[in-house]
């Protein structure tokens, strides 16, 4: 098979292009998702494509009628996405950084998530919220968070966190075609990572975890960048004859419990790696599920390797100590195995 290497950023862009070509009801909204608004006639069109260039070129291709640069009014345009989704459109809305969730959250938590249920299944909200998460940019407490859990907590929302370019494309295609509201997390430190991506639109189903590495001594479930940290740690540990299985759930609601429980049944040990705050988090949730439904398989305690219960610090030595980097995972695995 010939390799077609794409960055995660470009894979997302390609998914958007293909979805917009296939379905005229798909449209984008967000702050500077094109950029240069008001200066189109002076070369401004598509000046940005969002702060990371993910949506660059889409306004040129599809026009500003389908790529809407909004004002800085998240509560407004997230609510508008809900209303448009209820009435025949498929909005893909960008929350520039997940840290800005505070101002958009009401529409997601109380409206997007609940319309179907509280109106007795008579309606649907086929919208996607794309957002950027993650530390490692020295961007401090208000631009570095990984607020997966505040969305995963809410019944009615689906949550997706891709870790490869192919997954980013395939899962985004599924998200856009899905009839429920989907929150799609993109990690800012992973955008430029390349891997093979099929050119044809090939949606990847939700609720199917990927086993990224097979192993026998311990299962590590990673959350987004945590998968990569875990894979690096697993590689280092292989040199010391410790065999680690690494699982990437890919979607958290719905969650493929089966793959995780089967892996723990095989290895008897579980670690979860997530750069989020530990309390009331995905890591804690996954640990609870395995403790509840897979207790008999466990040979020892479940270990969560996460950020501490602190905001994300700015200074490099502080942020490096903050993130669950591979070195820490290696040490924790050894402690857990008594190795």
């Amino acid at each position: 098979m010939s390799e077609r290497l794409l960055t995660i950023r470009d894979a997302i862009n390609e998914a958007l292009v293909q979805a917009m070509e296939a379905d005229p009801t798909v449209f984008l909204m967000g702050e500077d998702v094109a950029g240069g608004a008001g200066r189109d006639d002076r070369g401004g069109l598509d000046a940005w494509g969002g702060p990371f260039g993910v949506t660059r070129g889409l306004a040129t291709r599809f026009g500003r009628e389908r790529v809407l640069d909004t004002t800085i009014a998240e509560a407004g345009f997230f609510g508008a996405a809900v209303g448009a989704a209820m009435t025949g459109m498929r909005p893909v809305v960008e929350l520039m950084y997940v840290d800005f969730a505070g101002v958009a959250y009401d529409q997601m938590l109380n409206q997007a998530a609940k319309v179907r249920y509280m109106f007795g299944g008579t309606q649907k909200v086929p919208m996607v919220m794309r957002t950027v998460v993650g530390g490692g940019f020295r961007a401090a407490a208000e631009h570095s968070q990984t607020l997966y859990s505040i969305f995963a907590h809410i019944p009615g929302l689906k949550t997706v966190a891709p870790t490869t370019a192919a997954d980013a494309k395939g899962l985004l295609l599924t998200a856009i075609a899905d009839d429920d509201p989907v929150v799609f997390f993109e990690h800012k430190r992973m955008y430029m990572q390349k891997s093979h991506v099929p050119e044809a639109p090939e949606p990847i189903p939700f609720g199917v975890a990927a086993v990224r590495r097979e192993g026998t001594d311990l299962t590590i479930v990673g959350v987004q960048r945590g998968v990569q940290f875990a894979l690096e740690a697993a590689e280092a540990l292989a040199g010391e004859d410790i065999s680690v299985e690494v699982i990437d759930p890919r979607t958290y609601t719905p969650l493929d419990k089966g793959t995780i429980l089967a892996s723990v049944a095989k290895t008897g040990r579980l670690m979860i790696v997530d750069e989020s705050y530990p309390r009331a988090s995905l890591a804690t949730d996954l640990a609870a599920i395995v403790a509840d439904e897979g207790f008999e398989s466990l040979k020892g305690p479940i270990r969560r390797v996460t950020a501490p219960h602190t905001p994300v610090p700015f200074s490099p030595p502080l942020e490096d100590a903050y993130l669950p980097l591979p070195g820490r995972i290696v040490a924790e695995v050894k402690r857990l195995l008594g190795a």
Binding site: E31, D32, G35, G36, A37, G38, R39, R42, G43, G44, A47, W48, P51, D69, T71, I72, A73, A75, G76, D99, F100, G102, V103, F137, R138, A139, A140, A141, E142, H143, P308, H309, T310, P311, P313, F314, S315, P316, P317, L318, D320, A321, Y322
Partner: protein
């Protein structure tokens, strides 16, 4: 402005010192960012110095300001120590936030700088709350929120103005209209003719002045401050300038046409001040000395900051709470 007091020569020299310090500080920030010698995001203030300098000159040390990610000018205007700011940008323990906040989050309670918030318009209700607090404590300090033209679309812009009216709070909402919100031009996003007009919706005074003219900024602010201190409530101030800086350091600014930039640059506030200096009876040689002193002060601050110690990794657990039982790991 009806009989707005003319600033004294000493006040004018002080405002100039403040402006050139801001300009030089952010020039160094740009150099450091380009050379990858400071971590993280930096947002500079080139071209809007007259706003921070003019507003802060009309305040007392005990008055409060709340700022944004683009805060260096506000912090300098309010008197935050350059050395501590530079150290914060470098992520050092000696910084204003011990390295926890970086460029976007300068603060210094000691000089009335409540802090810089990275969420657009977040400082507006915070300044409102400080103003309410002063009123409830029977004090006559006022509070100022700085924000950009793009911020007028946030819900809290409107909520804060409505509440300020309701409480007759001694707060100044200072909009720095620099023609752009990120890569979006003002003429695309602003629907009213001016930002100041939006005050009418809340029955507050809205005042617009030239943000390239430090004296105009000073006088407009002084009047609003006097009204607030006297129990006359809030004002929305709009100062018009241009964002010569990128949205962030590294922004290519392809959306700003060159002729547009050049036309605004012809009015940039330092040159404007220097051109008006003789007419105001100011001494050119003294302005020259002020520039040299500011350059030296900024250089010394960054040179010293770069030698400062990094925080120890364990310091990351400090200052999450005032007190907390049970550990944070």
């Amino acid at each position: 402005m009806p009989d707005a007091p003319t600033p004294t020569h000493d006040q004018l020299y002080a405002m100039y010192r403040s402006m050139v310090t801001m300009r030089r500080f952010d020039a160094v920030v740009t150099e450091l960012a380009e050379a990858d010698r400071i971590p993280g995001y930096a947002h500079t203030y080139t071209g809007s110095e007259a706003i921070a300098a003019g507003v802060c000159a009309a305040l007392r040390p005990s008055d409060w300001i709340a700022s944004t990610y683009r805060n260096h000018g506000h912090a300098i205007g309010k008197g935050v120590a350059l050395r501590a700011m530079a150290a914060e940008l470098h992520g050092r323990r000696t910084g204003t936030a011990k390295g926890k906040g970086g460029s976007m989050h300068i603060s210094d309670f000691g000089v009335g700088m409540l802090g810089a918030f990275g969420i657009v318009a977040a400082g507006m209700p915070i300044a409102l709350g400080a103003a309410l607090s002063m009123k409830m404590q029977g004090r006559d300090e006022v509070a100022v929120a700085f924000f950009g033209d793009g911020a007028v679309h946030q819900g809290v812009f409107h909520e804060a103005m409505g509440l300020a009216k309701l409480w007759n709070a001694p707060v100044l909402f200072v909009c720095e209209n620099n023609q752009y919100a990120e890569a979006t031009a003002l003429d695309y996003h602003l629907h009213t003719e001016t930002v100041a007009n939006m005050a009418a919706g809340y029955a507050l005074p809205g005042v617009r002045a030239d943000g390239m003219d430090v004296v105009a900024v000073y006088q407009a602010t002084l009047e609003a401050v006097a009204r607030a201190r006297a129990g006359g409530g809030a004002t929305l101030l709009e100062f018009v300038s241009y964002r010569f800086s990128g949205q962030y350091e590294g922004d290519k600014q392809t959306y700003q046409p060159a002729d547009e930039r050049a036309a605004w640059w012809a009015r940039e506030p330092l040159t404007a001040f220097e051109q008006a200096a003789a007419e105001r009876g100011l001494d050119a040689a003294r302005l020259e000395r002020i520039r040299a002193d500011a350059d030296a002060e900024v250089a010394a601050a960054f040179a010293a900051a770069e030698q400062d110690p990094w925080p120890e990794p364990d310091e990351l657990y400090d200052d999450v709470y005032v007190s907390y039982e049970g550990g944070l790991r």
